[in-house]
């Protein structure tokens, strides 16, 4: 279980992005965080993974305060994080990256399972460099695969996993998350605007203007989001998500 207590964070030039976020993400479920662009979703994900340090507040993972732990320490305690903008490496192959993620060498069948779950054929990709030779969609899938390759994660965060995956049928992505949900006892946190991802959520959190605007089960929150989307205009404070 992840607990966020009164998290605040400002960008270096002083603009306040997160203005006191309180949130509980239960274990064993899939939570989708949604909300308007610029509302603080990615900042919150980076704070949980340790890429940003909050100005104030506490982060508790299964009861342990991880607020002051480094990225590495959090990763070793079971926090996984898939970047919204994947990083490219000259010379590091897909196999290298997945083995680094898993923490040990991987058998061909294991590589097949991981890459297959993001819709890639193992033989075409394992020896390719994670560099500019891969398209935006390919590298995004490999980024997701690198997080799926990790074992024993207590919390796995995907930041806009759908971004850049234009050619891949969404069914594959949805299936990968559902599979992860069944095999992983930890929490899954996805930042997304996509209705089809929202549809597989157990819980939905709406973050806007640096705060939690709404939180509840999918059945509670989805109708509100869809009603907003169908509104003739977007009144202030009720942006289309």
């Amino acid at each position: 279980m992840l607990i966020l207590e009164n998290i605040t964070w400002s960008v270096p030039d002083g603009d306040s992005i997160l203005k006191g976020v309180d949130l509980v993400i239960p274990s064993g479920g899939l939570t989708v965080i949604t909300g308007p662009n610029g509302g603080g979703k990615t900042s919150l994900a980076k704070i949980v993974a340790g890429l940003y340090k909050p100005d104030s507040g506490r982060i508790l993972l299964d009861g342990e305060d991880i607020t002051n732990l480094s990225i590495t320490e959090r990763a070793r305690k079971g926090v996984g994080y898939a970047f919204q903008q994947p990083v490219r490496f000259k010379g590091i192959t897909v196999r290298d990256l997945l083995e680094l993620a898993a923490g040990h060498p991987l058998e061909e069948s294991e590589l097949c399972d991981i890459l297959g779950s993001v819709g890639l054929c193992t033989h075409d990709y394992i020896d390719r460099e994670v560099s500019t030779g891969l398209s935006g969609g390919e590298i995004k899938r490999i980024e997701i695969a690198s997080v799926l390759a990790r074992s024993d994660t207590k919390l796995t965060i995907f930041d806009e996993p759908e971004a850049g995956i234009d050619l891949w049928s969404f069914a594959g992505l949805i299936e990968a998350f559902q599979k992860l949900k069944t095999k992983n006892s930890g929490s899954i946190l996805i930042i997304s605007h996509q209705e089809r991802i929202l549809n597989i959520a157990d819980e939905i959190v709406v973050i806007a203007e640096g705060k939690v605007r709404a939180k509840g089960s999918r059945d509670e929150i989805m109708p509100v989001l869809l009603a907003d989307e169908k509104a003739a205009h977007c009144p202030r404070g009720k942006e289309v998500y």
Binding site: T72, A75, V79, F83, V87, F89, G91, D96, L100, A101
Partner: protein, 306 residues
């Protein structure tokens, strides 16, 4: 052959106590082992100044080993090796160089290798350089490689120098006839106060010749590297060079790539990037559980492997 040579051979030419096929082992300027094979003949040049290696057209998938080792101080070894590759031959040439210096004087190897590659032949030339030993004397390796590719010949040059060489000047010149292809992969890492200069000149003289020159280097500590390449497209041809360097600590790199297009259909491309390891790369690997130091090492290992 002494123990140091055996140790150096393990690193530079995958020596496992024996070479299969043709070989010549040079130790401190002397030959300590030589064997020809039915398709690969190794003859000494007069006065012991080097070798003539003749690879016949019948050689297909064979390997010849020509390693050279300097194992002590105050040795200045200069060797001339000429390789004549028959039309249509397919051969791997392993020609590493190791310099071990436990003393105060300089230990230096200067290998001048000339390749005359016949029509349609294929050569994979593997050259690994390393410096070892605890002495204060400098370890120097200054190779010169001259390559002549006849029509349709292909040469892949895989050249690596990872550590321990205080000073190196690496000069490679190539002339390509019609449809000949030259592929060069250079991997270089310098530490401490080491210096490395690389100088490539490739002339594409025959139509549809092509060169692909890829250099990846890491300059650590206070080391300094200079990279210079000149690709001349004198006719319809394709040329590509890619020079990437990573800086660590106070390492410095100077890169001067030059392209000359002497024909309307010469298509030449150069790409270059020098800089420290991108912060995002380290962050990504940290999110997989690596420390900053482990991440940096993995990134460098991968970069030099690729």
């Amino acid at each position: 052959m002494n123990k140091i040579t055996e140790k150096l051979l393990e690193v530079i030419s995958d020596w496992k106590g024996v070479f299969d096929g043709a070989f010549n082992i040079r130790e401190d300027g002397q030959c300590v082992g030589r064997q020809s094979s039915p398709n690969i003949r190794i003859d000494p040049l007069a006065g012991g100044a080097g070798l003539e290696i003749h690879v016949s057209s019948q050689a297909q998938g064979e390997t010849v080993y020509i390693p050279a080792c300097v194992t002590k101080s105050d040795v200045n070894d200069l060797v001339y090796n000429d390789f004549y590759i028959g039309d249509g031959a397919d051969v791997v040439i392993v020609a590493g160089c190791g310099v071990h210096n436990d003393g105060e004087g300089e230990a230096r190897h200067n290998g001048i290798h000339r390749f005359f590659v016949g029509k349609g032949a294929h050569v994979l030339y593997k050259e690994k350089h390393i410096g070892m030993g605890d002495g204060s004397g400098a370890r120097r390796i200054d190779p010169i490689t001259d390559i002549t590719l006849e029509e349709d010949a292909v040469m892949e040059m895989d050249t690596t120098q990872i550590s321990g060489v205080d000073s190196t000047v690496r000069t490679t010149n190539a002339n390509l006839a019609a449809r000949a292809k030259l592929i060069i992969h250079e991997r270089l890492m310098t530490n401490d106060q080491e210096t490395a200069k690389t100088d490539f000149t490739v002339n594409m003289n025959g139509e549809d010749a092509g060169v692909d020159l890829i250099s990846r280097s890491v300059a650590k500590d206070r080391s300094h590297q200079e990279y210079r390449s000149v690709i001349r497209g004198n006719t319809r041809c394709t040329g590509h060079s890619e020079c990437d360097a990573i800086l660590v600590g106070n390492g410095t790199v100077s890169a001067a790539p030059e392209l000359f297009a002497g024909h309307i259909d010469a298509a030449l491309i150069h790409e270059a990037a020098i800089g420290k390891i991108a912060g995002e790369q380290i962050l990504k690997l940290q999110t997989l559980g690596l420390t900053e130091e482990e991440a940096e090492q993995k990134i460098i290992d991968g970069f030099l492997k690729g």
